[in-house]
């Protein structure tokens, strides 16, 4: 059964046609990597899936519920779709623990004690059990990104969208974040990641979607697609990033 479904989605920024008829079907538990050149529409695609951007034609549904960018709807969607950003977007004035507890307490109306238990468990999961009381700016980029993952997980999402979440990190910190993602994948979390980490896409991902000029240019099993691309554009892209 598909968890995320896009049906002929078209998106315009003014006159600019960004997404040109995207079809995509993501099953629960799948790990899908979206690759492609800068400007090909990858971020826009993710942002349409959780309603951060509106689209003009076609349909998107998550967990059989239709996605629109109406405010109320986006917030309902937030209960099943988590998102991690390239620059973490932690709340600087809240401790790591408070960052994670905020939405569970004020959105899900959990008690403080309950939220705290969840926050601690999620921090353990991302390997930062000792950082509960620290402020974000005291953490490395890699640690901040793992806190962001813990914060998203605390809402118990069905699917996690990750937009180049290792791109802003120093190379030596990328591994820690990818390890967390790999662990999540093993536990059966549905992941949709825009990424430049080809090794990760091949080894951990189930499927690769190659975007080009606002279209799904080529997609398929990750190992096969990356080792044996069909289109000239994907060949070129792989040649350029490897």
């Amino acid at each position: 059964m598909s968890l995320v479904k896009l049906d002929q989605v078209h998106k315009y920024y003014g006159d600019f046609h960004v997404l040109k008829g995207i079809d995509l079907d993501i099953k629960a538990g799948e790990v899908v990597s979206i690759i492609g050149k800068s400007g090909s529409g990858k971020s826009t695609l993710l942002r349409c899936i959780n309603g951060l951007e509106e689209y003009q034609q076609g349909g998107i549904s998550v967990d059989d519920k239709e996605v629109t960018s109406e405010d109320i709807q986006v917030r309902r969607l937030a209960l099943s779709v988590g998102m991690i950003f390239q620059n973490f977007n932690l709340f600087p004035h809240l401790t790591v623990g408070e960052n994670i507890m905020l939405a569970p307490t004020i959105v899900l109306k959990k008690s403080k004690a309950e939220a705290q238990t969840i926050a601690k468990a999620m921090l353990e999961k991302v390997g930062l059990g000792d950082k509960f009381g620290s402020y974000p700016e005291k953490l490395s980029g890699g640690q901040q990104q793992r806190v962001a993952i813990a914060r998203a997980l605390a809402m118990n999402p069905k699917v996690l969208l990750c937009d180049e979440i290792t791109s802003a990190l120093d190379p030596e910190l990328v591994g820690d974040v990818l390890k967390v993602l790999e662990q999540l994948a093993k536990e059966g979390m549905t992941l949709v990641l825009v990424t430049h980490e080809m090794n990760f896409a091949r080894d951990v991902g189930d499927r690769v979607v190659f975007m080009h000029q606002g279209k799904v240019w080529e997609e398929g099993n990750s190992k096969k697609l990356l080792s044996d691309p069909e289109t000239e554009e994907l060949k070129q892209f792989i040649g350029a990033v490897l």
Binding site: N50, V74, R75, F85, N89, T95, L102, L108, Y135
Partner: protein
């Protein structure tokens, strides 16, 4: 010859004036910042008509003298049936004045918050009000806190003109004393020093509050 001891019999007058200025300042600083916060939020996030209304208010207040605003409220409003005591008129005038100036200051802080903070809150399911209060306000105020502190002090100093509508504040006390003992130089030196002390006290208190509220910057 200078003679400061001639002021001693008027100690109570000075202290009374000081207390009045302190009370007015405390009350209107709180009210003014609340007005400024509300108006800044509307100016930044409200719909077009309400944005324009706030902009008009801010421009009106920032481009007219405070004493004219005060006289309008105290002497002008009674002619449309709104009779106010000097104290009430003062509180309103000071609040409106600080509200307008702090609107612009606070708005600068709000507009400084990265879009990513709003998006992060949104994808966590938080609504507008929750995001504004729990996510945006603290970092926004941190950025503009020094400017806001200075503005509050400026308004406190500006409250000296309230003596013109016979509010018995610190300046009123100085006027009264020097008219009685003809020690103008001494009276105004002492008064100036008291204002200076008040300004320093405000800076100190704002500093203490800021240290607590914005502790996340230095803390471990």
């Amino acid at each position: 010859m200078l003679n400061f001891s001639d002021l001693l019999p008027y100690t109570d007058v000075f202290l009374g004036g000081l207390a009045t200025t302190l009370q007015l300042t405390l009350l209107t600083t709180v009210l003014g910042v609340i007005v400024g916060t509300l108006c800044a939020s509307i100016r930044q996030y409200g719909n077009k008509p309400s944005q324009r209304a706030v902009a008009a208010y801010v421009e009106l207040i920032r481009n007219t003298p405070f004493i004219v605003q005060l006289f309008f409220i105290f002497f002008g409003l009674p002619s449309i049936g709104l009779l106010l005591t000097p104290w009430q008129a003062s509180v309103i005038a000071l609040t409106i004045n600080l509200g307008a100036y702090s609107t612009e200051i606070i708005r600068a802080g709000l507009s400084n918050i990265p879009k990513g903070q709003w998006e992060a809150a949104k994808v966590l399911g938080m609504n507008f009000r929750q995001t504004l209060v729990r996510v945006v306000f603290t970092p926004a105020f941190e950025k503009i806190y020094p400017a806001l502190t200075s503005q509050c002090i400026i308004v406190m100093l500006g409250s000296a003109v309230l003596s013109q509508i016979s509010v018995q504040d610190l300046t009123y006390a100085a006027n009264l004393v020097q008219s009685r003992n003809f020690r103008a130089f001494e009276s105004y030196v002492v008064t100036a020093l008291m204002y200076l002390g008040l300004a320093m006290l405000m800076r100190y208190i704002f500093g203490l509050i800021g240290k607590r509220v914005f502790a996340f910057r230095e803390a471990s």
